[in-house]
Amino acid sequence: MFSSPGKPRPHYRVLRDHLQTMTAEMFAERRRVADAAFLYQGITFTVYGQEQGIERIFPFDLVPRIIPRAEWSHIEQGVAQRVQALNLFLHDIYHDQRILREKLIPPELVFSSRHFRREMMGLNVPKDRYVHVVGTDIVRSDDGQYYVLEDNLRSPSGVSYMLENRQVMKRTFADLFGRYDVQPIEHYPQELLNTLRSVAPHEYSDATVVLLTPGIFNSAYFEHTFLARQMGIEIVEGRDLVAHQNKIYMRTTRGLKLVDVIYRRVDDDYLDPLNFRQDSALGVAGLLNAYRAGNVTIANAIGTGVADDKAVYAFTPQMIKFYLGQEPILNNVPTYLGWREKECDHILNNLDKLVVKAVNESGGYGMLVGPHASRDDREKFKEQVRASPRNYIAQPTLALSRHPTLLEDGLSGCHVDLRPYILYGDDVVVVPGGLTRVALRKGSLVVNSSQGGGSKDTWVLRD
């Protein structure tokens, strides 16, 4: 918010002035209204591994994040460029593997990725789209530049909070909202449905799209029902679907109904017990065959996780140059691969300065924030990195931008990141906004909801 102490960036002046007119009581009152709105609507997520009260409200911070139009265009173009390149990369590695043959990416790195699916080799997907919904995590550093932390290409969550945050914000801060020219985001579910329809296996005018959920115990179940309801499509569990003669049907009270597109929120491993994990009760036996036969579209495609492997991420700039012939608009965070011997040594010798991440984990699990970690934890991580270097990467701790946030004892600057949601059907669509996640513990760099983070409304200005 501030360019230097006490000097707010221009687009934050109105907000700063507004906040200064508010008393602690006024804040408390609006917080009460906001919390009640979330609680009443059951906008919750589930925390795994905790016995009591597994359903929680996602903490919401009342102070919005504001992004001027020019800055947003830069982000928008940057993420669109990345998604196109990543999509071409996925097509390439499941077909000709040009990028591997030209030795721009080491083949072993791709083939050793846990999410590489041989079953996808040679398979053609509608319109060559592999990634239909992407959430790219971006941070702003103290140099004013935006950096991409990672691209979530499997089933990124959180978009329901982006939409709900806006609703609650309009209710609690209507006065402030009216003084900014904020671009709307409410059309996201419609855009999502258009995207899913556009990749139907055949040119139906009324393709049947369903959302596949693991069920009520999944951490993002609220989001699944929210999106299904907003799009007006059925939310189904694996047991509602049946494969027959390479087609997928859902079991309705009027018999079986053909399903064209499955927006799945179930991981690859669990999608089809005949081909992946046999113990999975969440998927549909025979789904992969129906997919291979071209009778159903799965969004995102199977095997997209190979491109959000954190080690493969390091090569995104090369992909952009190779497939698009362009310079990357958004920078990667400098990344050291445990997989490369020299870089691994660097990681091991500088553990106290780096953030180390397991390549296949998400949600803030399997990571070490070196500067904040105890000696013991660092030693433990050292062992793990030595044992399987392929599974680890490290990045310098950026001076993440901080944003005024309302904590128990008043406003203070907390670290934030930003996850815009990118849709890719006929075209790339980026709804102007995203989920700003905020670390609600002072000094913490971890913004994940499963690690006690919260979120704020993100305003993209019209001009």
Binding site: A228, E237, V242, T252, T253
Partner: protein
């Protein structure tokens, strides 16, 4: 709509209705059997257990049927899948899986019912059982009202109504059968008979409506006729089955599949017609027992056909349809 969702809604409604009916039965019998001779009271409590056909499990767990053992078994027993506690728990589980389909008021109501039962200590229940049972019954009834007033009356709602009325018809018939079988309703002294008839009517929440409809006459024949065949009494068997028929008409069936001879609408239609034209004198006395047990078997098969038609659709795959049809014709 999805079969899984329809099935959950249907069973949610059946379980709530079952819980309500059983709780009413307990409350009424606590009241009625206080006035009875000990031997009659014992038979009366045995009849309550027999209504769900759970006698074998009961005799495993208890040596004697009395107020305590029966209410423990019928209301609280977790091993008894038909106990009120089991029914309410399963109703809530079903509701949880389809939260998107039901109103938030319904979810709140079923939760409140669940917590009321879960958090009540049994000791407390025995100090004032009738009040407690009536409270639970009221909550279950309130749930039905909330359902009708807050949920869109579309297809999901129809499945709730279907479960509700099928269960209600079943319970009224079972109470009639139980009372008949255990109490030998028609061979007692007039004073005893009227006591039993009043208990029977109360068990079905029919005492006052019957009084009004019958002009004050209390005879076994008229009571049976009323409970089975009255067109206006909402717990009457024929009344409930007519409602089921209407609901099934509203739901319809898979238009791409030829109507099966044993489709739920047909099976139910035949049962309805048989009841509609029934001469009550044909089934009184010795014919009552076989009539009711045959009736309950037919009612069960309607439930099976509903499941087969709406819930287990995977058995009829698109290109298996012609073959299936042939098999049925053979």
């Amino acid at each position: 709509m999805l079969s899984r969702v329809a099935e959950s809604l249907y069973w949610m409604a059946r379980y709530i209705e079952r819980a309500e009916d059983l709780t009413r039965l307990l409350a009424v019998n606590f009241n009625a059997l206080l006035d009875s001779k000990p031997a009659d009271a014992k038979r009366g409590w045995e009849a309550v257990v027999g209504i769900n056909g759970d006698d074998p499990l009961f005799t495993e767990l208890h040596t004697e049927a009395n107020a305590q053992s029966v209410s423990r078994f019928v209301f609280w027993e977790p091993l008894n899948s038909n106990s009120v506690v089991s029914c309410i728990t399963r109703a809530r589980e079903n509701a949880r899986g389809v939260r998107e389909q039901i109103s938030s008021e319904m979810w709140e109501a079923v939760n409140r019912l669940y917590f009321l039962v879960r958090d009540t200590k049994r000791a407390n229940e025995f100090s004032n059982p009738i009040d407690f049972f009536e409270l639970v019954r009221d909550r279950a009834q309130a749930y039905q009202g909330i359902t009708s007033a807050t949920m869109t009356h579309g297809e999901p709602y129809q499945f709730i109504r279907l479960g509700l009325h099928l269960e209600r018809a079943d319970k009224t018939a079972r109470i009639l059968e139980g009372k008949y079988h255990y109490l030998n309703l028609f061979s007692k002294s007039p004073a005893e008979t009227s006591l039993q008839l009043i208990a029977l009517l109360r068990s079905c929440a029919a005492f006052e409506p019957y009084r009004r409809a019958s002009g004050g006459q209390l005879s076994a024949e008229k009571v049976v006729e009323y409970l089975l065949l009255d067109h206006e009494f909402p717990r009457g068997v024929l009344f409930c089955l007519n409602r089921c028929q209407r609901t099934l008409d509203a739901i319809g069936e898979d238009p791409t599949v030829p109507v099966r001879p044993d489709s739920p609408r047909r099976v139910l239609g035949r049962l309805n017609a048989d009841l509609e034209y029934l001469d009550i004198h044909d089934v009184l006395g010795e014919n009552m027992d076989p009539f009711l047990s045959k009736f309950l078997t037919r009612l069960n098969s309607i439930g099976d056909e509903i499941a087969r038609t709406y819930f287990n659709t995977s058995v009829i795959l698109p290109d298996e349809r012609p073959r299936q049809q042939q098999q049925q014709q053979q």
